[in-house]
Amino acid sequence: MLGYIVRRLLQAVLITLGVTLVVFLLLHIIPGGSVARAILGPRANALQIAQFNRDNGLDQALPVQYITYLGQITGFGSLFAGHGWQINLGYSYKLNQSVASILVQDIPRTMLLVGVSTALAIVVAVPLGIYQAVRRNRIDDYVLTAASFIFYSMPIFWLGIILIVIFAGGLLHVLPSEGPQGTTFGDVLSELPALILPVASLSLVTIASFSRYMRSSTIENMVQDYVRTARAKGASNSRVLFVHVLRNAMIPLLTLIGLSIGFIFSGALITEALFNYPGMGYRFWNAAQSQDYPVILGIIIVAALATVIGNLLADVMYAVADPRVRYSK
């Protein structure tokens, strides 16, 4: 088991390295020919571009550039050069600020939104799915299934707009239509009502997706032989359901949660854009509109790292829960 975790941890490091390679390559497929062109703009002449490339080491061979880049984003570059451990995610010429200093402000706000929404979704969706499986094909199951179908099929911005119209518009006017604007974590927490609509939009869609899987996974397990065996041994209904079925039905959900982290971050991007919530996704959206590539690629690395960590946790839990899966020969 420990061996598996160590192996999986090494894989996660490799994947992160793979992501940095992909991002590095993305940086070099930017149309218009070069990073310098993208940063200096269409009016820069050949001399200025050559100067920029020389100053930033962009005239060196690609592998050398990649190693340098890797040294910058991990902070090892400056550590070995004797300047202490400094992570350098690049510099935004559009905002005249380093990407790292921008993200230090944005990341906690996004993590708060994503963390609260995901936790809420799991806490609501698991019992909901089991309840629907038990009450399968009855009227309450149909109503809940219809509701989850509709929420799952809603574009998150459309759901958000409807929530704004109901709770922030003329109808009720009880909640702000804009997310918290505070700069520090504490400030954001002091504006909790402003967080309700963004969290509701993001978690409603996620609940719909999780509970549907939980329902079908539970139903699938309820007809398995081991359930019949447990019943034959005289286990009570609730014991069969919450001890035998729950543990097996959670296994596909673990994979789903791991896979959904990217989906939730994507949802957070749209939620932040709609509610004007100054997190990582909102920053990414602005950077995309102004073609601020250093910020775009810096955020991709951070979002990917968060997803890798989430997947790692899900996979370790999967192996703990299901020893049948053979990961290697």
Partner: protein, 311 residues
Amino acid sequence: MRIPPPAAALPLHGETTAEVQDIAPAYESRGVWRLALDVFVQNRLAVVGVGIVVFMVLFCFVGPIFYRTDQLTTDLNNQFLAPGAGHLLGTDNLGFDVIGRLMIGGQTSLEVGLAAALIATTFGVLWGAVAGFWGGVVDALMMRLVDVVLSIPALFLLLFLAVAFEPVDLPKLILVVAITAWLIPARLIRGEALTLRTREYVEAVSMMGGRGSRIVLRHIIPNTVGTIMVNATFQVADAILLVAGLSFLGLGIPPPATNWGAMLSDGVTYVYDGWWWLIYPAGAAIVLTVVAFNFIGDALRDALEVRLHRR
């Protein structure tokens, strides 16, 4: 499980008696697929879903032949017209008729959704089945690549690609969506292949000398066909949502082309003006279409998962 009739009752080559002809079709017609179709048709939601999809396809692709509107030149004298005789659902901020706009917008949404799902599923299934069956180094390399791309959240990757390859046209949009979508089927099928390859019948085939390509194509992929079809259907729904999201953020196909998400993006500005026809029809079209594909996917799941028949 159905037990096949004894060999003597099966039609033999050259036999054409009426009796045999009666037996043969009756046996064939009650195969697994026919049973699945029966279950599918019994599911009323699935029939509704198919109905909605057929309606949407007719509305978007045949509709413009009968309901002619100008969707190329703006008409700023007639912007924000309320629904009425000339324009049944009013006009938008550029004076385009909203129903006509729904039609051409729907063409883009449906085309991208279907094409992207088809490309992504085909590629993903092959990738996942090969990785899961061979295991070892091949599996590790193939799946690490999937993990690398999958760990970049889809919308972030999509947004980046849309910005980097501006201006985005229809084929580019389809390809870009497929690039972000093939990873999920690859992972799902790989997971199934991992457990399928330990099953007795797969071991029996390889013991009898069946080659890897035969096992993957004839035994592993057919046994995951339920997952493939269910996932492909959901892929269409997801692709439509993804494109809507991209367009909502203002980074889809530029005007005068449009899609349902872009219509909402334009309409959101006027949410407090009470011009509901700019907000609700396009949103309803997305939800209706995506719900329909999800209904179909769910019914397929019920119809194809044979274990569930043993109640």
